[in-house]
Amino acid sequence: MTLSPTRIAIYTLLFAFAALYLLPIYVLVVTGMKSFTEVGLDRMWNFPSGLRFDSFQEAFDSLSKNMGNSFRMVIPATIASCFVGSINGYILTKWKFPGSDIFFFFLLFGMFIPYQSILIPLVQTLQHIHLYGSLWGLVLTHIIYGIPITTLIFRNYYAGVPTELVEAAKIDGASIIGIYTRILFPLSLPGFVVVAIWQFTSIWNDFLFASTVTSNPNTQPVTVALNNLAGSYIVQWNVQMAGALIAALPTLLIYVFLGRFFMRGLTAGALRG
């Protein structure tokens, strides 16, 4: 197959952009492999003197416990978030009540608030219900603030499911829960994939809630621990960049392996206008 000039141009462009996109990762990897004395702005592009993994080791030792915390927090939060969004989307599309559109509007608006501004009442409220300082408090926080985006995605997705299916099931005498479990849930998988990937990423990468809701370094997620790796006065850049890569690994892997399902979910209508 001969490549037309257009094709060559296209591939060149694609590779050029790919290089640009990979530039920051190169910085992180190369700096992570340098020793502290080798690190310097003026030596940024130089290869490390050796394939040294000390910084990675040091970063991993400091971060492994907090990675565990992050997993323990993110997985329940993501799963619960998915189901909350799914149920909400189901009700708002197949069981509309007078005012359900306005209700959805108010629900959705919640994702636009600046989270810095609600830190103080959040902490006070979590204190009242005795969840402050624990990972479960963080889980609850993420589930609640994930309600708007997860509901949005599922609502858009279920809007594409023909109402006739639901009507037929109602006539057949299926209950509201039954319709969900037998008809909608099996169809929801692309939606679940999109929501799960999106929520996993945002919750895993969150720093603001993580640093405010949990205070004990034993319970804090990896984003806070990573920030602490940096130090307040003298920054050990090599360890910090190595740590950043390690902390980003789970989400990176998810995008690498599940990225195509993310796309398929979007094609299936999860985030269309």
Partner: protein
Amino acid sequence: MRWKRILMSFSVLAAALLVVSLVAACGDGGAKKTPTPAGTPGTPGALSGKLEIFSWWTTGGEAAGLEALYKLYPDKCPGDVEIVNATVAGGAGSNARQVLTTRMLGGDPPGSFQVHMGHELTDTWVTTGNMEPLDALYEEEGWNDVFPKGVLDIVSYQGKPYSVPVNIHRANVLWYNKKVFEDNNLKPPTTFDEFFQVADTLKAAGITPLALGDNGIWASAQVMETVLLGTLGADGYNGLWTGDTDWAGPEVTKALETFKRMLSYVNSDHSSLTWDQANALVISGDAAMTIMGDWIEGDYKAKNFTDFGYVPTPGTKGIYDALSDTFGLPKGAPNPDAVMCWLRLVGSKEGQEAFNPLKGSICARADCDTSLFDAYLQSAIADWKTDTIVPSLAHGAAASQGWVADITDAITPFVTDLNVATFQSRLADACSEAKVCS
């Protein structure tokens, strides 16, 4: 359907990760605790429970110093106390302050928290009734005789001290690369005129005279404060914070003009560098001098650089521009007995001798064993005994946090537009906003 299988495998993966992380978390449970050996049960005064120490000391010498204190704790405070090392890094404490404020407002104070001596503590937490006075403690421990009067004044409010200083850092130090100076036949400057002569020579030789890294804007505030100090002298400088010196007056104008002139000898990319990245310029010889607090010595050590020299910043010989990390007792702190014992440790000779050599600072106490400290710190200790002590602006001792914020907000545009008149009027406004000037 394929989708079903995908969801199944996803759930299995999720469950597996959950199990793995639970196992990892449980297995590694003791990593960050510092358990203390149990005292004899029933010993009167044996402490127990948790002691949460909140700070932004996460790496390097600071973390090492903190660990050294934790190791001494069980001896000084027998019992079964579990120390929780609550730290939040970043921004020379700005992240930590955010978390601390949120916690205090949420009614969850830590046992004790790191805070700079002076108005940072007083105006934020003492005047608002959130800290316990420590005058009784100072009496018991005899600290009124062992801390210099300058420090006692700064940590006190209405005659009572509210925190215990563990260290002293000096902000008015000019560091320079000895080889660069030798190569250019220069002597370290002691006055502003000498500084500008040296700077001109260096500029002509293609070397950046003064390295500045103000990605954290406090670094510029610190340079300005040394210029104010060098121009106004100790009394004039102190008067700025009490309303006795006129911010709108000609002396201050002179200082600001000097500051402006200094900025023309600074590296152009200063806003992209942190202070330690600016220091790298001095180490490599691309720059000759930098004005920074004496924690910079830790940076030189970490980068194996020994050919540095130090002098007080121009015009400030005989003046010690001090800042200190201190610990106090918040009202409603959990386990106050354990906290009080912590404070005793922090203010004790053993505690300060263990902490400061590692941290790279000097004792706040006047009676520490000087042989434990390196050459620079010994010279600092000598100065500490004789110099006039003034509080640092950039590090929370001289002015309230709100006032410091207004000043740094005024410095930010000044560094770019160099408009002294606007700058000075904004500084005068800041003093009025702080209700110190009329």
